[in-house]
Assembly symmetry: C2
Homo-oligomer: 199 residues x 2
């Protein structure tokens, strides 16, 4: 009886955080409802009370991923308030990559097709939008006269570069020492930011 401390309403969270642990250890493909339930100490059917199916658990992971990203970017944006626009953008980029490299499996699940591709799980949108907005502000400040549409294009371009960089590094198509991973991306993105700042 003592081990069943989850019947008080936090079983959902217990399952979720165990799932987060597991994917970082075993990789994003290794999520298994049964294994997660087993490690938490409940019957695998109990998990279905809180997650409709496996994809719903995956979506819950993605939600923490987008939220963590949005929170990190927002607080980074505040903290870099007194810096120059260019340095502020760079601080955001660094923070973005930092978070991704800290929890690669979660990052991959967050942007994975399983949860995003068919528009099920609209609850992911809010946090994703929040992260996006910070970037729009930052790029806007870097070139204040730019029309919003162009600023959004620039954000998409930079975001694409950062996202692709992460995946190419993880896939060993880009090889760079761990210590330099973030610094190297700054170098790759610099020409783009230069071009954006003075068109």
């Amino acid at each position: 009886m003592a081990r069943r401390s989850y019947h008080h309403g936090d079983l959902r969270n217990a399952l979720l955080s165990k799932a987060l642990e597991l994917i970082e250890e075993e990789g994003p493909e290794a999520i298994s409802l049964r294994e997660v339930a087993r490690q938490v100490g409940v019957n695998h059917r109990a998990a279905y009370r809180h997650f409709e199916d496996k994809r719903a658990l995956t979506a819950a992971i993605a939600e923490t991923g987008y939220a963590a990203l949005a929170d990190a970017l927002e607080s980074c944006w505040q903290q870099a308030q007194r810096k120059q626009p260019r340095a502020r953008v760079e601080a955001l980029m660094d923070r973005y990559l930092e978070l991704a490299f800290e929890a690669p499996a979660r990052y991959r699940v967050t942007f994975g097709n399983r949860v995003n591709e068919d528009g099920r799980f609209p609850e992911l949108e809010a946090a994703a939008q929040r992260a996006f907005q910070v970037l729009v502000q930052a790029m806007g400040q870097l070139r204040p006269k730019a029309p919003l549409a162009e600023t959004r294009d620039a954000v998409f371009a930079l975001w694409s570069m950062a996202h692709g960089y992460l995946r190419l590094v993880w896939a060993r198509r880009i090889r760079v020492k761990q210590q330099l991973q973030i610094k190297y991306f700054r170098a790759l993105a610099a020409p783009f930011l230069d071009g954006w700042a003075r068109p």
Copy 2:
């Protein structure tokens, strides 16, 4: 007996092309040795004669992916011989995206972590390198005086952008009408190429 036309040495290819069919229909996660073997008409154990395990089949798919990419870029490079350097780079970008959008599941498997992350399957490297070399040539021609190291950085930046763009489009983080997907990327990459061409 008649249906067993695979015992003549082409079972490996039969399995491989059936696997390619299946992932485009059902998504990259849906590869199953048993299902592939079933559809080809052999016992699932027969597949193990040609692929050591499931990851080996996945790697074989990735090999066709890298090879297709390299071939497409090489022939595109030749065909665009008389164009200006900038137009040549754009032709390569277009071709790259075209191929990815034609067979998204294969593209994702090709650059997926399952096959690339641990350096098993070194046979993938050759084709990947071949594709990379075409891009290095193209970017080099766009700024002939650039040192090789900088040219390689520029290729990594552009490649990251293209790769990230694809995944963000597939994950519905970037929303763009099918007809405009390739054109829109040209617009996103333009500032970067401008900056690279005239530093």
